[in-house]
């Protein structure tokens, strides 16, 4: 049963399996284990970013294609849902329509970019996506009539998903059973289904072919696989999943703006998550996203205290200031590309 759910791709390391189980349990019972608005928000973000990082890993780790437009697809999904919710009013129909529309646009755009630039050279793709994604981000902030510009869009979600909606009176384990909880579980189960779906994809014959393309495109072509077709399909698939993750974010935080969905910072975050977690394994995305979001939320507090403790010394307080956390993650990123290209997951698997 579990084997079927995981598509035969087991963690293959007792420690890794333990960590993954811990993350799954932690996320599944987050509202009860870690009560409080901030921790619930962190848990939902982890769910969303696991899907986003996993969809990016399909491209980076399994297909060997570097894209800098992943946040663009993420943003298209988020804006699709946000625009539908703000123009059609808070209803589930709006959510479904907006999500479907956003995903379709993201997939179509990915198809266009893929056919256009994957034909020539893989390195072209990285540069073209970087340029297109930046232009898209600027365009979104310019078209303020439609997208709200830099301020973004704030909207209402269906009442059943809000904190005012009560499912039952009283509490279970001291937690109110309200719409917010329902919303969390909507995010959680959607993320779980999407993740298992991606796991299914990478362990299918299609996924095997992607790995072949990654390892030796020339040979794959010679055997008779159309490399461009496989690369483009992977791009479209990963864009569609990223758009769905964007829709989840739009529903969860009830706000969509350039800073939360389209910025280059988020693109770099995803890159760090996938590389530190481990490229080429879906579990790497889980570990990477969890570590990263936890670090983003809690490491800064730790660094603030380190800054406080080293106040008397020269330079060091500047280096450990909480705003400089990306410096350390950037160094970790470079080191992990050199020394652990398989990331945390690769490490755990090799030690058994």
């Amino acid at each position: 049963m579990i084997n079927r759910l995981l598509s035969g791709d087991r963690p293959r390391s007792r420690l890794l399996a333990g960590v993954l189980a811990l993350i799954l349990i932690g996320l599944a019972f987050a509202p009860f284990l870690f009560p409080g608005t901030k921790s619930l928000d962190t848990a939902a973000r982890i769910c969303i970013f696991i899907v986003l990082a996993a969809s990016y890993d399909l491209l980076l780790g399994y297909t060997g294609v570097v894209s800098f437009a992943h946040t663009m697809f993420f943003g298209i999904g988020a804006y699709g849902t946000a625009l539908a919710l703000s123009s059609l009013g808070p209803s589930f129909t709006a959510i479904v329509l907006g999500t479907a529309g956003g995903t379709a646009i993201a997939a179509a755009l990915a198809l266009a970019i893929g056919l256009f630039s994957l034909r020539v050279k893989a390195i072209f793709f990285a540069m073209v996506t970087l340029a297109v994604a930046s232009a898209f981000a600027v365009l979104v902030s310019q078209l303020s009539g439609l997208t709200g510009g830099e301020d973004g869009l704030t909207y209402k979600i269906p009442r059943a998903l809000g904190p005012a909606f009560k499912l039952m009176d009283g509490k279970i384990f001291g937690v109110r059973i309200n719409g917010r909880l329902l919303c969390y579980y909507l995010v959680f189960f959607s993320a779980l289904v999407l993740f298992l779906g991606l796991l299914r994809v990478v362990n299918s014959p299609f996924g095997r072919t992607l790995k072949a393309v990654r390892d030796n495109a020339f040979r794959a072509e010679a055997i008779g696989y159309r490399v461009v077709w496989y690369r483009t399909t992977a791009t479209v698939l990963s864009a569609a999943v990223a758009a769905l993750a964007g829709a989840l974010l739009a529903i969860w935080i009830r706000y969509t703006g350039p800073a939360t969905t389209l910025s280059m910072e988020i693109m770099i975050d995803i890159l760090l998550m996938v590389v530190i977690g481990g490229m080429g394994t879906m579990y790497g995305a889980v570990i990477g996203a969890t570590l990263f979001i936890l670090a983003q939320t809690y490491l800064q507090t730790l660094m603030a205290s380190a800054e406080h403790a080293t106040e008397a010394l020269p330079l060091i307080p500047l280096l450990v200031a909480p705003e400089r956390w990306l410096l350390w993650l950037g160094m970790l990123f470079i080191l992990s590309v050199y020394f652990f290209p398989d990331g945390v997951v690769g490490r755990l698997r090799s030690r058994r």
Partner: protein, 342 residues
């Protein structure tokens, strides 16, 4: 041996073929003509054209290093933007030290201060380029995916270090008085600094062409682009050539950083990665590895951005992407593809 030796047959290129190879050269004048038709007002057009040329040539300064590095070493440096930012910040520091010279009304002192600032930032970015090549890029030669990731990591770290050294806020960088203001040319007002930028860019382009076409180093670089292994087999240390070109490319990025910083008059740690978008567009349009293509691409992007900023400000950046798409439809490898087999 049969006596029918195969003779080489020399055929002069037909006019159509010559036109085909020269066609990209016509693009910039054609674009300027179209811009004139769309704008209609001669004075405005002249101002915008000079602004476009200045912007294009500054982008060319930054992009030329990137494209030669790619052509010679097959390394695409996503951290190139970091050198631009570092160059701008070093230039700012030097100009602040030389405040007495930059404030004085004497033109020569002003220019000397700017010149020293440029020299200092080129030296610093060249030095950082040396370290970057040795520490970050050297272990991942021949591995594109890792190159992109590692140089991106280098960019993140460099930007954060700029924050540590110069603080997180944007810094105002004012031009010396002799580069402020505008000259009136007919009815068109043309900023002096833009003329200065055009002059620097043109001198650099001519100089680079000269180095690449008429010196021994340039010969080796061109041979290396064509076939690196053969150059090595002939006894030249291609690794040293790589390092030299990488440092030169980084120094050019530093120069571009100072010029761009003085143009914008505000510098941030992210300015490099922001301008990199246009730099990549230019490099793609020109064809990876080609200096001439890069030059034409930079002029096209500069002109188009300025015309569109006047005609339809909201879609200025999108129009350059459209230009890139159009060029790639016409020539999928860029205007002048240099790197063929890699």
């Amino acid at each position: 041996m049969s006596s029918t030796a195969i003779r080489p047959k020399l055929v002069a290129a037909s006019p159509a073929e010559r036109l085909k190879s020269a066609a990209p050269l016509l693009l910039a004048p054609v674009l300027a003509g179209l811009g004139f038709a769309a704008i209609g007002d001669g004075a405005t057009w002249l101002t915008l054209t000079v602004a476009g040329l200045a912007m294009g040539l500054m982008i060319f300064i930054m992009a030329s290093g990137l494209t030669v590095v790619f052509g010679l070493m097959d390394v695409i440096n996503f951290g190139h933007g970091a050198f631009v930012s570092v160059g701008a910040f070093v230039g700012f520091t030097v100009l602040a030290w030389l405040a007495g010279w930059t404030q004085s009304p004497v033109v020569m002192l002003n220019l000397l201060a700017v010149f020293l600032a440029i020299l200092a930032s080129m030296a610093v970015t060249g030095g950082i380029g040396l370290m970057f090549e040795r520490v970050i890029v050297a272990p991942v030669y021949g591995h594109h995916l890792k190159q992109i990731l590692v140089t991106m990591g280098g960019l993140i770290v460099a930007q954060q270090l700029i924050h540590v050294i110069w603080g997180p806020d944007a810094i105002h960088l004012s031009r010396p008085p002799s580069l402020q203001g505008a000259v009136i040319f007919g009815e068109a007002a043309i900023e002096k600094y833009r003329l200065f930028a055009v002059a620097v860019g043109l001198v650099l382009f001519v100089g680079m062409r000269h180095v690449l076409r008429s010196t021994r180093i340039g010969l080796l670089v061109r041979a290396g682009v064509e076939n690196g292994e053969m150059v090595e087999a002939l006894g030249y240390r291609i690794r040293r050539l790589f390092l030299l070109v990488f440092m030169a490319g980084s120094a050019l990025a530093g120069l571009g950083g100072v010029m761009w910083g003085l143009y914008q008059e505000t510098i941030t740690a992210h300015m490099g990665s922001e301008i990199m978008v246009l730099v990549f567009v230019v490099v793609i349009i020109g064809g990876l590895g080609s200096i001439e293509g890069c030059f034409i691409g930079a002029l096209l992007v500069g002109l188009l951005s300025n015309y569109m900023a006047f005609l339809a400000p909201k879609v200025a950046l999108v129009s350059t992407i459209a230009l890139m798409v159009g060029v790639l439809m016409w020539r999928p490898q860029g205007l002048y593809p240099v790197v063929k087999a890699k």
